[in-house]
């Protein structure tokens, strides 16, 4: 940990200023190297680096780029996902604010590698202030000739100008979590309701306006220039070999120093919480940590020892890296109350296209409200688990999983918390097969008599 490279958010004062960025080799070193290579060689370099998408699914970026067709029959689009609406993640905002030009340079390199005609940066409407910052940065880059038709004369790595130019447009969203899903974002950009689309066809074949499209995260784009600068092989040696590079970890909740920390992948979770984020206030114990934004499975406080923060290690530990938004909850936290809030969020954000998600998220919320109010019965615990389990994998997009995972894994990992909230019922003296549900029927079972009207 002595030497932690800072590639996405380097400690250079005033880096958001285009002159400072250029003085530090911006719009020259990385992009010059890219333009001196063939487009396919740039893709190979990114493949070699092992870079994986930073938007949640951790899909290999180079591989994604190689899915784009080579022909020129149709226009090709690049869509940069700056929707960042996962509760607990606030990393892209730092890039917009502190290093927008490196993001633009990354977009230019990616556009060259895939021979893109037009790149759109989609930023959530809530970030109105940061949309203006990015718009300003793009306008500056345009005025210097780094974007658009003047690129051909601006970049001359081997004496002659490059035969390539791309346009970049900033697009502002209007408040919808689901738009962070790639196909939904395409619909939103086209001026429609943000409903996710079926896959296949995959965006690389039929995306924006039926043309080949690649969707990448803001942080992924910003990670590209350092890869070109240092070479794919050197980048692949940073952090965990299966998920190399640095990640922006946004730590929030019960910690002394919440904020965004850029660290190599594979950094132990407890180091991030205790060393970088300053530990839990008043020396309290950790009850629960959500390691990758609110849709990822939560980990119990006693499951954290030795957990490393990268896609493969977290998967083995029973969660997922997501967007690297770490939410820490101390021992006094009412987990049921928190989970009810998470369920409310997904219920609110479900687009309503698929029945399991539209109805299921409502069920989850109703059930959790019962627990929160102390009105639930023993069998509601299994019902909750059952409803969550039946949403997963039965929807067009991943919002189904996002809604189900936190509930399902909280029930599995904190069952005792739910049991504490169950309203004591009547113990029937004789086995009642009608009310026995899945108890087997021979043990006396608890039932509520009478049934109360519930919220």
């Amino acid at each position: 940990m002595a030497d932690t490279p800072k590639l996405v958010l380097p400690d250079i004062p005033g880096l958001r200023n285009i002159d400072t960025y250029i003085a530090n080799g911006g719009y020259k070193d990385a992009i010059g190297k890219a333009f001196s290579m063939a487009p396919a060689a740039v893709i190979d370099e990114v493949k070699k680096s092992g870079l994986r998408g930073r938007g949640g699914a951790a899909f290999p970026t180079g591989l994604k780029w190689s899915f784009m067709p080579k022909g020129k029959e149709k226009k090709k689009y690049l869509l940069i996902n700056g929707d960042e609406s996962e509760p607990g993640s606030f990393k892209d905002r730092q890039i917009f604010e502190f290093n927008p030009h490196q993001m633009i340079e990354g977009i230019l390199i990616a556009s060259y590698a895939m021979q893109i005609d037009h790149a759109y940066i989609y930023i959530r409407g809530e970030y109105a202030h940061w949309v203006k910052m990015v718009e300003k940065a793009v306008a500056e880059a345009y005025s210097r000739g780094f974007i658009g038709s003047r690129m051909k004369e601006m970049f001359k790595p081997s004496g002659e100008g490059v035969e390539f130019s791309v346009e970049i447009t900033v697009h502002k969203g209007a408040g919808a979590y689901i738009v962070g899903e790639e196909t939904s974002m395409m619909n939103s950009l086209e001026g429609q309701r943000g409903y996710p689309r079926f896959k296949p066809p995959f965006p690389a074949n039929s995306g924006l306006w039926g043309c080949p499209t690649t969707i990448n995260n803001i942080e992924t784009m910003t990670s590209v220039p350092p890869i070109l600068k240092m070479g794919g092989e050197a980048y692949s040696k940073i952090g965990d070999p299966k998920h190399p590079g640095t990640l922006l970890f946004g730590v929030s909740g019960h910690v002394n120093k919440p904020g965004v920390y850029e660290l190599p992948t594979g950094t132990p979770l407890l180091d991030i919480i205790n060393i970088h984020a300053g530990g839990v206030p008043n020396g309290k114990k950790i009850k629960l940590v959500i390691p990758g934004g609110s849709s990822m499975p939560p980990l119990r406080g006693d499951q954290l020892e030795g957990v490393k923060m990268d896609a493969e290690n977290l998967k083995a530990a029973g969660s997922a890296i997501g967007t690297g938004g770490i939410m820490v909850m101390d021992e006094d936290t009412d987990i049921i109350h928190v989970l009810t809030r998470i369920a409310k969020f997904y219920w609110h954000e479900s687009c309503g296209q698929c029945t399991p998600c539209r109805e299921g998220t409502g069920w989850l919320l109703k059930l959790l409200k019962r627990f929160d109010a102390g009105e639930a019965m023993e069998s509601d615990i299994d019902l909750l688990h059952d409803v969550a389990f039946n949403i997963e994998g039965r929807t067009i997009c991943a919002l189904g999983e996002a809604a189900a995972w936190p509930v399902r894994f909280t029930v599995e990992r904190f069952r005792e918390e739910f049991q504490k909230r169950v309203k004591p019922g009547l113990i029937l003296e004789s086995p009642n097969r009608v009310h026995s549900l899945r108890k087997g029927g021979l043990e006396p079972v608890q039932v509520h008599v009478p049934v109360v009207e519930r919220v």
Partner: protein, 179 residues
């Protein structure tokens, strides 16, 4: 009709060319209309439909889908309090309750003088500065209930939004590196 001036229409049609279809410029057009009028009434939606060459029903569908487009008048100062997980853990719910009491309105209602409205919002991406409150586009992070009340006092007294005290800085990142 004719909410946009000719100059504005000219500007819009230039920007529209950055997209292969005029319909793609619907969200930016709706933003412009909402910035002008404070909300999107029938007339505004009709204008958007004409500019983007889509049916009015399509515009209404889009407006109702996105939470940031208002279908009724909201306050001049729209107060948004986040109660999602990170903010909730740091007192977001208490902040919302206090603001509701202070302004005397419920969620998505506005004060009789039309000055303030309040909304319980989902995560606005300020988890590191929880709890947070936003007035229109300005974020107030790491804000206590008392500070929030002071901000409202200033808005009432001066008629504009004060500069937030807390600004996320780069050194926060350097600190981690030096450890």
């Amino acid at each position: 009709m004719a909410i946009f001036s000719d100059a504005e229409l000219q500007e819009i049609s230039e920007l529209q060319k950055r997209y292969p279809s005029p319909a793609a410029y619907l969200l930016p057009v709706l933003w412009r209309l909402q910035d002008k009028r404070g909300w999107l009434d029938d007339e505004a939606m009709e204008e958007a439909a004409a500019v983007c060459q889509v049916p009015k029903s399509h515009v209404r569908g889009v407006v109702s889908f996105y939470t940031m487009f208002f279908e009724k008048p909201m306050g001049k100062f729209h107060v948004q309090v986040c109660t999602n997980v990170s903010c909730m853990l740091c007192g977001g719910e208490e902040l919302l309750a206090d603001m509701k009491q202070r302004l005397g309105v419920q969620n998505m209602e506005r004060t009789p003088d039309g000055m303030f409205s309040i909304e319980e919002v989902e995560c606005m991406g300020a988890c590191g500065g929880a709890p947070m409150m936003a007035i229109n586009e300005t974020f107030f992070e790491k804000i206590s209930t008392q500070e929030a009340n002071e901000v409202i006092d200033q808005v009432v007294a001066n008629g504009n939004i004060p500069t937030p005290k807390f600004v996320q800085q780069m050194p926060e990142l350097s600190e981690a590196a030096n450890k």
